[in-house]
Point group: C2
Chain length 239, copies 2
């Protein structure tokens, strides 16, 4: 727990307090849905399960609805409560975070569509293990970023940002493998491109998790660390 | 001009008025930089011009700096001015819009990196015309979305959202052509994949322009039209 932790539990207005707590809970609920979509989309992809993949595409509306509802609530809090200092930072971080969560939902939907496409074709087993590994890494990043948000833990958020470099490296390596594989067996191009798109979607999910972790650092430390190197971020968090 | 046009020109506080006008001007400046990056990245891509492409990647920091500065200004306005109604919607729309502008900058950077990669290889001339066409379409969408923002014109914003469907169709057609081409001549895979990534980046720029147009409709009409069909959006704008 950080010494600079926002003190919204100590508000005179218990109603305002309840509103901020509610918005936090909703972000966590939205995050839970998003995590499930990543896991389900990847499972559908790995097991050529079109039924599960279709369920993922059908569930996307729930994430979209939560995005709209949370934005409405934030807008209402800004108008009525006119928050300042750490309360304002919380609302600001939420407004930014839910955009990334919604886009993680979109990326999961793309993986599900690739799963549907692959399920109707001759099966391909190459590169699947690497996709699963990438999926586990980025799911963990999303979970860790949301935990850092819930616990207002800037150090944990920094760790998520650090992991993004590893995800980028693994994605690049997988992409090179896929290109070599397609050159050796051009009949697989249609299917391998689906794998490439899915890996790309996972890499993007890692980017969004990193964005969320940057908002957590802003929330806790009051410093905007976007576009900084990891080394500069470390200074802001630890300094 | 819309009858529901925000009335921030009539504020009692001329200082507050100046702040809102300044934030609008900065968004337009950021938009101008972003448009130039799309045009330069595509020109570099079409003409195998690594020098121009490197200039695009070097200029990205200017967009990032503007994003951070505008967020800081919005946060200050929320804390000090505690805006409500249409003023609050303006600040809210700006907070969301600059995230999309920054990501359009990122997508332009990706096109520039593909241009650098292509410039060092045997030239390929297939699909280039289609990429240029897609680039012109999405640049126009970004310009139109920003014009709609400047003029608070919900109908013009709706037109941008409509164009996104056409961009998606052209992108899909180009993707199919590229896959067929790679299958016929696998030696081109490495280079054609660069074209596919660039087309994908342009398609994403179209999505971001559509997002901005949705914030303009929210700003002018007070209705959140995200995740609605074009037909439902039309009802909200015209009804």
């Amino acid at each position: 727990m950080d010494k600079d932790r926002p003190i919204f539990r100590q508000h005179i207005s218990s109603q305002f307090n309840a509103e901020l707590e509610d918005v936090r809970q909703r972000v966590m609920a939205m995050g839970g849905l998003v995590e499930q979509q990543i896991v389900d989309a990847t499972t559908a992809f790995m097991s050529f399960d079109a039924t599960l993949a279709e369920q993922v595409t059908r569930n996307d509306y729930k994430i979209n609805q939560l995005e709209v509802a949370i934005d409405e609530e934030c807008s209402r809090i800004l108008a009525r409560r006119q928050p300042t200092a750490s309360d304002l930072r919380l609302v600001y971080a939420v407004i930014k975070t839910i955009t990334d969560l919604e886009r993680i939902g979109d990326e999961s939907g793309k993986i599900a569509r690739m799963a549907i496409d692959l399920s109707s074709q001759e099966r391909i087993h190459e590169h699947m293990r690497e996709v699963q590994h990438l999926s586990r890494q980025v799911s963990q990043m999303v979970r860790d970023a949301l935990d850092a948000f819930a616990r207002m833990d800037a150090e944990a958020a920094l760790e998520v940002a650090r992991q993004d470099r590893e995800v980028d490296r693994e994605y690049e390596a997988l992409l090179r493998q896929c290109i070599t594989f397609m050159m050796e067996d051009p009949r697989t191009i249609g299917r391998v491109i689906d794998i490439v798109w899915s890996a790309r979607a996972l890499e993007r999910i890692g980017d969004h998790a990193k964005n969320i972790s940057e908002y957590v650092i802003y929330l806790v430390k009051g410093k905007d660390v976007r576009h900084l190197s990891i080394e500069s971020m470390e200074k802001e968090v630890k300094g």
